[in-house]
């Protein structure tokens, strides 16, 4: 800057962007939680999405409001209308002084099946426009067990870089030291309420010793949830083994190709020896036109990574539910003995 002592204009400040601190916490308002739950629950089991509005303050991303999207339909005209809807809604909300910066989107999921290519693509789309965005995932199926299944996710930076170049070969992944655990980053969620709301809630609803949440948690039967979970887990295992087979096939082809190459080079060498003995020019040891030298395309590892993520998610859920069941069973035992 030419004159550092002069007051800097807003534009200049904006231009000299400092290195953004990493996103540590997503601070979400109770209002947003209720809105998300209402939208997701009303349309369950259809999966729905909506937009999150808020502010990006240092390492905290504040989510202060949100609005739902209409259910998407495969029609271009309606899609254009959807974009209009979004603009209209943003404009309207701005008029009543709601923060109208998009900070990401929310979506519902069933049994935690959210690790899909679509999610990654949506994320990449958002990321292009907003530097920092987050995806909040709510699972209505788990709320019946008294768990508030809210998760804030983002893609890790190294994964995004690879995805942009569409480079999921084994070599690249090894170079970046990226494994399936590193695709999604979960960000801790903080809940905040305005003082007014907090007063209202305290005033309206006295502390009750037992809540619906407790009833849900202490319900003995959890088998339908576990059953569905296991079904999905098995499905995923099948997918994974199909992926693995693809790789095996690929490696078999590669080794076969290498053997062929070896044989070809061997043959060429002996030929060259013979030519040398006869006093002729040796032929080159490589022949790019030969099909056996064409490198085989390596299948992308993205799918298997996602499936692996999914499986580990199911395992976590099963562990969680089993843990809960244990405590419930021992509780029952204690009660019975009393």
């Amino acid at each position: 800057m030419a004159n550092p002592s002069a007051p800097r204009s807003f534009l200049q400040v904006a231009a000299t962007e400092e290195v953004a601190p990493p996103l540590r916490v997503v601070q979400i308002e109770g209002l947003v939680i209720l809105k998300i739950i209402k939208h997701c629950k009303e349309f369950s089991p259809t999966l729905v999405t909506g937009q999150l509005l808020g502010l990006d303050v240092g390492s905290v991303l504040e989510v202060t409001n949100c609005f739902p999207f209409p259910i998407r339909e495969e029609d271009e005209e309606i899609e254009a209308e959807g974009a209009n809807y979004q603009l209209e809604m943003m404009r309207c909300l701005r008029e009543v002084n709601v923060d109208n910066n998009t900070v990401g989107w929310y979506q519902s999921t069933l049994f935690g099946r959210y690790q899909t290519v679509e999610l990654i693509e949506t994320f990449m789309n958002y990321q292009e426009n907003i530097r920092r965005c987050v995806c909040i995932i709510y699972d209505p199926s788990r709320s019946n067990q008294g768990v508030l299944a809210l998760k804030a996710l983002k893609l890790s930076d190294s994964f995004m870089e690879l995805y942009r170049n569409n480079n999921f070969t084994g070599e690249k992944l090894r170079e970046k030291n990226l494994s399936w655990v590193d695709i999604f980053e979960e960000i801790p969620i903080k809940v905040s309420n305005s003082a007014l709301i907090s007063t209202f809630m305290t005033e309206l609803e006295a502390d009750s010793p037992v809540t619906q949440c407790d009833y849900d948690r202490l319900k003995l039967s959890s088998s339908p949830f576990v059953e569905r979970n296991m079904e999905f887990l098995i499905e995923c295992m099948d997918d994974l083994s199909a992926e693995q087979q693809k790789f095996q096939y690929y490696y078999r082809n590669v080794s076969r190709q290498q053997a062929q190459q070896q044989a070809w080079v061997q043959k060429r060498r002996s030929e060259n020896m013979a030519r040398k003995a006869a006093g002729e020019e040796p032929l080159p040891e490589e022949d790019p036109s030969n099909p056996i030298f064409k490198p085989l395309p390596e299948p992308s590892r993205l799918d298997s990574f996602l499936t692996t993520n999914q499986i580990s998610n199911y395992c976590n859920q099963i562990n969680g539910v089993a843990g809960q069941s244990f405590s419930r069973l021992y509780l029952m035992k204690a009660l019975q003995e009393n």
Partner: protein, 285 residues
């Protein structure tokens, strides 16, 4: 409503079974709008969305604020905004229609009649919800009204606001857990097991309370109350009576099932990490 042929002064009979039910989201929304109101505004006004249930209860499920100007007894509502917002909301959920309007502040004010008349044109018999965000009585009062017209022949004389009963349904909020909604900030959403722990602690505390009560009664500290006694007997009876053998079998079977699940998920995890190791090894080809 009060269309009549007689020329007598008519007090229409109040709609008897009318009541309203408000979901917590609406309260949250109103409070948020109030916090974000423009500098000079005293109150916020907005539209209530929901549906009328078969039994006549008005179910208020959603709301949005409508900008307005208020000066010297006149109220100018941004009708265009109201319509735009309505269309947007209906795109998402066509089942939610206008059921009334809300305003912050305590009770009905002069300008309310005008706005109410506007909403009467949108929907028959709208509900007027007031949320006292100023705590003018020292308490959070939320009230719902319907209006009836006093008319003499075809001439309307006045509008009368009648309070109707209001049911604050907090079940949804309960499911989320009040802890999230009451406090001003919470650092972390509890995991499965932490939630379970909290629930069990509460259950234990309740059982302790019952113990203390019963002991007290037995020792003659407090007079016995038959209805409380009956409740306690009921809850004790709700534990199924089984032979210890059958119960042990039941518990052990379930525990074994759960253990099997745990085992399976651990083995799957091992498999995953093994597969990952093999994949990286294969990359060295």
């Amino acid at each position: 409503m009060a269309a009549s042929e007689n020329t007598a002064l008519l007090f229409p009979s109040p709609s008897t079974s009318l009541s309203a039910r408000v979901h917590p989201l609406v309260i949250f929304n109103i409070c948020d709008c109030y916090v974000r109101r423009p500098d000079q505004a005293v109150r916020v006004i907005g539209t209530l969305l929901g549906s009328v249930l078969p039994d006549g209860t008005v179910d208020i499920r959603n709301s949005y604020a409508v900008p307005h100007n208020e000066f010297s007894g006149q109220v100018a509502l941004d009708i265009e905004y109201h319509h735009n917002m309505l269309i947007s909301h209906q795109k998402v959920n066509p089942k939610e229609v206008i059921v009334g309007w809300y305003s912050t502040g305590d009770g009905v004010t002069g300008g309310s009649a005008l706005i109410h008349e506007f909403y009467s044109r949108e929907v028959s018999n709208p509900v007027h919800l007031t949320v006292d965000t100023g705590f003018s009585n020292g308490q959070a009062s939320i009230k719902a009204y319907v209006s009836t017209n006093l008319s003499l022949g075809d001439r309307q004389l006045a509008a009368q606001f009648q309070e109707i009963s209001l049911d604050l349904r907090m079940v949804e909020a309960e499911r989320v857990g009040f802890d999230f909604l009451k406090k001003q900030s919470i650092d972390k959403i509890p995991s499965d097991l932490e939630g379970m722990e909290a629930s069990m602690e509460r259950l234990l505390a309740l059982i302790d309370d019952v113990y203390k009560y019963v002991d007290n009664v037995v020792e003659g500290g407090i007079p016995a109350d038959n209805s409380v006694g009956r409740f306690i007997a009921d809850s004790v009876a709700s534990i199924p009576k089984m032979s210890p053998l059958a119960f042990d079998k039941l518990i052990n079977d379930s525990i074994q099932d759960q253990l099997l699940l745990l085992y399976l998920s651990s083995i799957t995890r091992t498999q995953l990490s093994l597969a990952e190791k093999l994949n990286t090894a294969a990359q060295n080809l």
